[in-house]
Each structure stands twice: as C-alpha cells, then as structure tokens.
Amino acid sequence: MPDGLPTDGLVIVAKRDCPTCSLVEPIMQKLDRAGPFAVISQDDPTFPAGVRSVIDDHDLERSFKLNIETVPTLLRFKNGKEVERTVGWDRQEWIRLAGDAASGDGLPAWQPGCGSKSVEPGVHEALVARYGDPGLKSRAISVGNWDDPIEACFERGWTDGLPVVPPTDERILRMLAGTERKPDEVVGLIPPNLAPCTVEKVAINAVMAGCKPEYMPVVLGVLEAALDPLFVLHGLLCTTHFSGPLVIINGPAAKAIGMNSGVNALGQGNRANATIGRALQLIVRNVGGGLPGAIDRATLGNPGKYTFCFAEDESDPDWEPLSVRRGIAPGKSAVTLFHGEGVNGFIDQKSRTPEELVRSLAMGLFGVGHPKLCLAGNAVLVLTPEHYKIFKDAGWSRRQIEDALYQALKRPGRDLVRGAHGVPEGLPPSMAEQMIDKFQPDGLLIVRAGGEAGLFSAIIGGWPGQSVREECQAVTREIRP
C-alpha cells in the first residue's frame, strides 16, 4: 500500500473540483474524528477542510497505485491490505464500509462521483511511465541531465535533418493508445535491412515525427501500403531518381484527424499532413536503415522526401474518390501510395470547355519525366476546384475525364523515337509506326484538392520503376481502425 495510509482504517480519495466530494466533506470531517483515517486529495491539500490527515497527491502517485478511477472512492484497509471499496456517494455502501459516522444525514441517498484526475486523457499514460511498468520492449537510451534530448536524437542519427520530438515512455504510451493493435505486433519488414517493425517501433517514430495518437491507424495503414511488394519500397528508396513515397488519404479518417485537402493542401501548415508522411520516412530511416547517401542514392531527391501527404477533397458527392476508383468501398478510409517526385504547377486560365482543358492538361502531362519518354513512369494529376468545375459544369465524371485524357495522351511514335526533333532522348526506333500511350493503363491517378481560387492544377510525376506494371504500381489499402 502507498506510504502514509492507515494499516487498519479508512481512506478516501477525493478532489476539490468534484461536487460529490464537496457534498461528503462533512462526512470526511466526522470520519477523521472517528478513527484511523486519511484523505488523499488530488488537487488541493487544504481540501477537505478540518481533516487532520490529508495527503497531498498532486503528483497522483497514490491515486495511480490505488487504481482510482472515480472520486470520491472510499476504501477500507485491514492489515495493510485493501479489503473493500465503493465509488461515488451511496449512503448504504458508505455505512456498510465506515459505519454510522458515514450516514450523511441530510444528504441525498446517492450521487455519482467524478472521474479521477489519474485517468484523465494522457495522464494515465504519464503515470504508467512514471510509477508503473510501461511494458515497452525497445531498449532505453539514457540522456544526461545537462543534455538536450533533441540534440541527443540528432547525434544518434535518428532525424531527417529537422528536430524530432524526443520519444519518451510517456509520449510512446500515449501514441500506442491511439491504436487497438498490440505493441509487439509485427507490421512488416522494413527495407533496406528488412528489419521487423513492431507497432511499438511505429509509435516511437510517430512520436518523433510529431504525430498525435489519433493518427496511429493512418500511420499504420500508410506503412502497410508501403510494404506491399507491388509498391517496391526498397527500389524507391535506393533509386537515383527524385521520387519518394507520396501519401494520399481518403475517407472519414482524413476528416476525423483534420487533414488538409483545401488551400495549400500540398504545402505546409497542417499537422496531420506534415507528420504522417514524415513518420513513414522516419520508420524507413530508423528501422529499415535507409539513409541518404548510403542506400538512398538519389541524385537530387526532392523536398517531399521529408514528408509528402495530403487528403483528397471529397466534398462533391458527384466525384468518385480516388480510393473508390481503386477498389475500396465507398465510405471506407484508405491510403494510396504513389512514387512521387516534385510538384509541377500547371497553369491554364483560358480553357473553358472540358475538351479544351483535356487537350491542355495532356500537354502538361507529356512533360512528365521527359516529353519524349512514354510508359516510363506514371503521374498524379491534382485537379483544383476551378479546373474541376469546368468538367463538372459539363456533366463529366471522373471516368470520362480519365478516358478523355488517356486518348489525348496518345502520340505517334515517329515524334517520340530517339533523334526525332533533334533530341537523342526518346523511344526505340522500332516504335516509330505505333501510337504510343504516355502512361500505363490506370497509370494516371486523378485526385481533387486545393483552394477555391486558381485555374491551376498540379502534376506529380512518378518513377521509372513503374514502367513494368506487373512489378511496380501505386498501392491503395483500406485503413483499419
């Protein structure tokens, strides 16, 4: 039993900020006079007034060790062990435990208690870290009392170049509370080292990335999608190309965690967008050992390799969301992972019909990778509201836009072969007489996002690894709760 409590006697755990505790204050005064007795006061050592044995429990250690969920809780100890307890105010129960001194004349017969401060959101995990067994399996790294934990993370090579949130037990336990999955569950093997990654390791890296606990199901879904063999994460990691994982979130999960699909959706400023993509990169770095300059051989890379994640704008019921287009049931949350390079802004402020805009978009899309290269990498087209409105006003669906773009993105091979138009880059001469598609079937992913103003869209080029469709594609997975 915690120190300072009567070996044989009564204990009440209470807080001033609880109407029921205030209601029973006169009873606590009576019990104090009646015999061995103590009050554990969670928020004010002067409460209850007139009681000699009040134990200040601001740090909630005693409340935690007694496993208190409700205040007031009346406990009876015998030979140093708890033998009975009751919660809230219930005259019959209090008389049974404490005798007639606890009859509370003039009080109602019953009144429910309030939540204990020790079980407030986030507090319980902190108390487990301080006074209990956190049950974490990852090894502990001690930081000296004069050292800055953020700098310690840098020195150990745990960061992407930006400061990370130091992964303390308290934060990790809070993060783990964001998922129902067990901490020791192995999510998969992270390349390049094919190291097993548990839910606990995901939580640690999510803490470091700055995630909130409620992002955990999305982070886990993103990681599972990234580990789908069809995504070829190892290859994406070690390529000399620009690309890195681009994360697109659909469904209620995106709304629930406040992701941005509107103004500046591809930019900075939204915590969920910023940290979910970063968490994936930190897992690859820390668990998988995928370090820039080591296995990551990118010639230039791109800023999206810090984080590249946004949600689709699903506000228009006429629009078929990307996840549904890719086989996920409507209303379900899903993640799509694409091998994305940087954002290429596309400006068209003159097209007014779908046909005009399709032709214009095709001109922009031809530039992905190289204007004369085809079937060498796919693309994401981010349609903004003003460009989408041109299609919507004409009654065009997603499928019609896709089909029209697919047709508009065919070109005669003679314009694309090596040497054509004086440019050595291009397709093999044998393709000169064919009509050539720019992208693989289903290789152009159209997603809606962006602010209301601006006749712009964005083209995000893919990765040449996508050229062999059976081996490498974008991946869409449902997010589990």
Binding site: I141, S142, N145, W158, P166, P167, D169, I190, N193, I204
Partner: protein, 94 residues
Amino acid sequence: MSVTVKLRDPTAESSPVRRPRLTPPPSLDGKTVALMDIGKSRGKEFIDRLESHFAKAGIATRRYAKPTNTKVAPIELMQKIAAEAQLAVIALSD
C-alpha cells in the same frame, strides 16, 4: 552523472547503445592533421614534437589553439578545423 530523461530507441537496435567512435582512416596519405593546443602549460612543446614527427612522415599539419583552456573551443574554431583538416590531435599537457 544523474539521468533525467530516458528515450526509447526508434531503430532496429542492430548497433550498440553507445555510439561507436569514428573508424580511423586506413592511411594518412593526402590527409591534413589539425594540431590543436588546448592552452594548458607545455602544450606547445607537445605539439612541436608531434609536428616534427608528422613532418618527417610527410604528413601535412596545421596548428590551431583554443583561446583559453577553461572553456570549450569556439564554434568558429571547430568549423575552421573541420574545413581545413581531416583529423585532429587535441593536445593536453600538464
């Protein structure tokens, strides 16, 4: 030293808890060695001796000195050493 913060390892834990020291280069050929006098007494004599040994071995050296032995080296000095040399000898001599 007392410990106030405990972090959990985010990695696959395939490396030791203590950070490994940098591996010495296989050869000093073509390298420049920084000789830094930390400012304690007779440090200069020690550095002079090292300098002559390096010179005999044909290894380039550059000399640096801390402004005072009572404080850590200024950032500017450490950046200068990192820019101009690949190895450093920090001379402590009493």
